[in-house]
Subunit: 217 residues, 2 copies
DNA sequence: TTGTGCATGTGGGATATGCAACGGAAAGGG
DNA sequence: CCCTTTCCGTTGCATATCCCACATGCACAA
């Protein structure tokens, strides 16, 4: 259960007062839980929709050979659920894993599309908030597709760097994760990516120091 | 303006009666238009959100060298808009192009998040419908990411085939587009893809006849 | 301190992939 | 009907990318 201060910052319960919030929890059969780093948050076996209220989590895919790939990064406002991420091809499994301690709210998804007589106003504000979150998710996925649909490592890197630069509103930005994870994120081999990075540095296209990068020109 | 029969099939105006529908058009400053094949539907310059009510369209990216890549396929219920697809890195441009004649509804996006006093019920049903459509879009994009994040052409093909097979609920399914477009969809070279496809056939992993495929075993 | 684990760099060799090119089949338009 | 365009299928060749291996540094705990 959130405190009143926490409620103000909540992406899902934005513009909802404390009284309404408490009633919604009952009406939607919502469950809230705190997770610690590396804990399993969700395994796509239930129909619930989860919202990350605070913290950092990752949606990862584990294929038949046990190779893990980061499919999504979920920060505050991140949503996940069976109805939002296609359950991978048979053989693979999907998991949401906690990176840094997380507050997560689970909702019964079907409830959102069921008109309930008594709580209609609260309901519609929540649906509106949910729409905003899912729209943000669609945007994030679009960005991901933009990167992944590039044909070479070089283009993938540059595309991703431009995105980060745009988000930071500066030529200088910091990677949200390690270089190893970056290779995973753009779906290429780490050593090949390092080689290409070196080339980019040598040609003066980027400067880098640790996870901090600067796009030149 | 839709007829009453068309309204019943509309994804966006589902569960909304004709009278309410007409008032919504005014309230949301909605614009409806019909497009013919190859016409430009949207160029991401306005803040509007579009919904494909009928027909087929594609969201394509055109990079600095003029190379076009299909980012999304939009059928009935497909939604697009600046706030749903990250405006690509500078230099690239995004466009929604009509494939087969389309009916499209454009809405003012900010209206959706503004509570209007008089039409609250209609409003909330529309928001609910929109949420459903955007959730479907997120799911489609997740599928795409699932495919694109595979490391080899073989894996990409198999992943995509499994998705189609799952959707068709059968080992046999039909590609929604040409093999050339498929290569584009999985972001690889066409000839390399054809080579891999031949190998898959030779190894007996798939059978194919034109655009019809069957996954063996 | 030493040791263990993880992230970062770098390189050699094998190969999957990209590129350019071609011919024929199929489809659509006048 | 013919003509044009697109799609399909294939190949030779260059190289970008993958895979494996190793060295370094850094953090953290024993």
């Amino acid at each position: 259960m959130l405190s009143e201060q926490e409620l103000e910052k909540s992406p899902l319960f934005h513009d909802i007062n404390y009284q309404d919030y408490r009633e919604i929890l009952t009406c939607f059969q919502a469950v809230q839980r705190v997770f610690r780093a590396d804990e399993l948050i969700y395994d796509f076996s239930s129909d619930a929709v989860g919202v990350v209220e605070r913290g950092q989590a990752s949606l990862i895919r584990i294929d038949e050979e046990g190779v893990a790939t980061v499919l999504e990064d979920l920060g505050a406002g991140g949503v996940f659920g069976k109805s939002l991420a296609f359950a991978g091809s048979t053989g693979d499994s999907l998991e949401v894993i906690c990176r840094h301690s997380c507050d997560v709210v689970f909702l019964d998804y079907s409830h959102i599309f069921t008109l309930c007589g008594n709580a209609c106003h609260r309901h519609s504000v929540l649906v509106q908030n949910m729409l905003r979150l899912v729209a943000d998710k669609a945007q994030a996925l679009s960005r991901r597709v933009d990167v992944l649909s590039r044909r070479s490592i070089r283009e993938k890197l540059l595309c991703y760097f431009r995105q980060l630069s745009q988000q930071a509103d500066s030529r200088t930005f910091t990677l949200p994760f390690s270089l190893s994870t970056l290779a995973d994120y753009i779906a290429t081999d780490r050593s090949a990516m390092m080689r290409e990075l070196k080339r980019l540095r040598e040609e003066g296209v980027v400067r880098s120091d640790g996870r901090q990068f600067t796009l030149r020109q």
